[in-house]
């Protein structure tokens, strides 16, 4: 079974703090994703990575950065946390099958980190 783990289930931070959210997958997947989930908005893609040290912006990258130094680990960084970044953050990973599109692949999700910024 694919396992995607996230470093914290709940996190409380103060405005202006630098926040690190960690995600690790154990199935040697090429692709990794960070989403935020807000009521009524569903999941919105922040960043994704299709290889080590490679990253692409998603729909809402402002205020976030990412790091992928190792294949199994994908970190989301909030450079200076703000109250509007209070949300549920979900990490996901997927394979890259031969001849297939990135978005054809099943994504495997972690349990999420609920972040509260005060």
């Amino acid at each position: 079974d694919v396992k995607v783990t996230q470093s914290s289930r709940y996190l409380v931070k103060r405005t202006g703090e630098k926040v690190f959210l960690e995600c690790v997958q154990d199935m040697d997947h090429e692709n990794m994703f960070w989403y935020r989930q807000d009521p009524g908005l569903g999941l919105r893609l922040i960043y994704f990575s299709y290889d080590v040290k490679m990253k692409e912006k998603g729909d809402i990258p402002e205020g976030y950065s990412v790091s992928r130094e190792k294949k199994e680990r994908f970190s989301l960084i909030l450079e200076s946390a703000s109250t509007n970044q209070t949300s549920m953050y979900l990490c996901a990973s997927s394979l890259l099958g031969p001849g297939r599109s990135l978005y054809q692949e099943t994504q495997y999700f972690g349990p999420g980190t609920r972040l509260l910024v005060l």
Partner: protein, 111 residues
């Protein structure tokens, strides 16, 4: 612009009753279609997906979905709901360039 709509924010059904969750999309070509389920406190899990072929797709946990091109819909169905199906359900639609998730439908199951 590409979009995914789940018209029902919240649905309540009785245990044993049938279920249909709606999903409509606006995408150019035949998109990739997915249904995911999120149980309380958990991440999303894939129920089923459709890329091409037979428009009726069977998934896990007794769910099925039907792709209707003329209606731009991919509705999720289950003939008899169990209490453990209470969760939030997300439709996702993608193509070769991006993917979008619907806002989700929360399912409550009455005893």
């Amino acid at each position: 612009a590409q979009s995914v709509t789940q018209p029902d924010i919240h649905i309540t059904v009785s245990e044993g009753a049938s279920l249909e969750l709606r999903c409509n999309y606006s995408y150019g070509a035949t998109p990739y279609l997915f249904w995911y389920v999120q149980s309380p406190g958990q991440g999303l899990q894939l129920l089923l997906k459709y890329f091409s072929g037979d428009t009726l797709v069977q998934g896990i946990k007794g769910f099925e979905a039907e792709f209707k091109r003329s209606q731009s819909s991919f509705n999720l169905r289950k003939p008899s709901v169990h209490w453990s199906d209470a969760a939030e359900y997300f439709c996702a639609v993608g193509d070769n360039y991006d993917m979008r998730f619907g806002a989700g439908t929360r399912l409550t199951v009455k005893p």
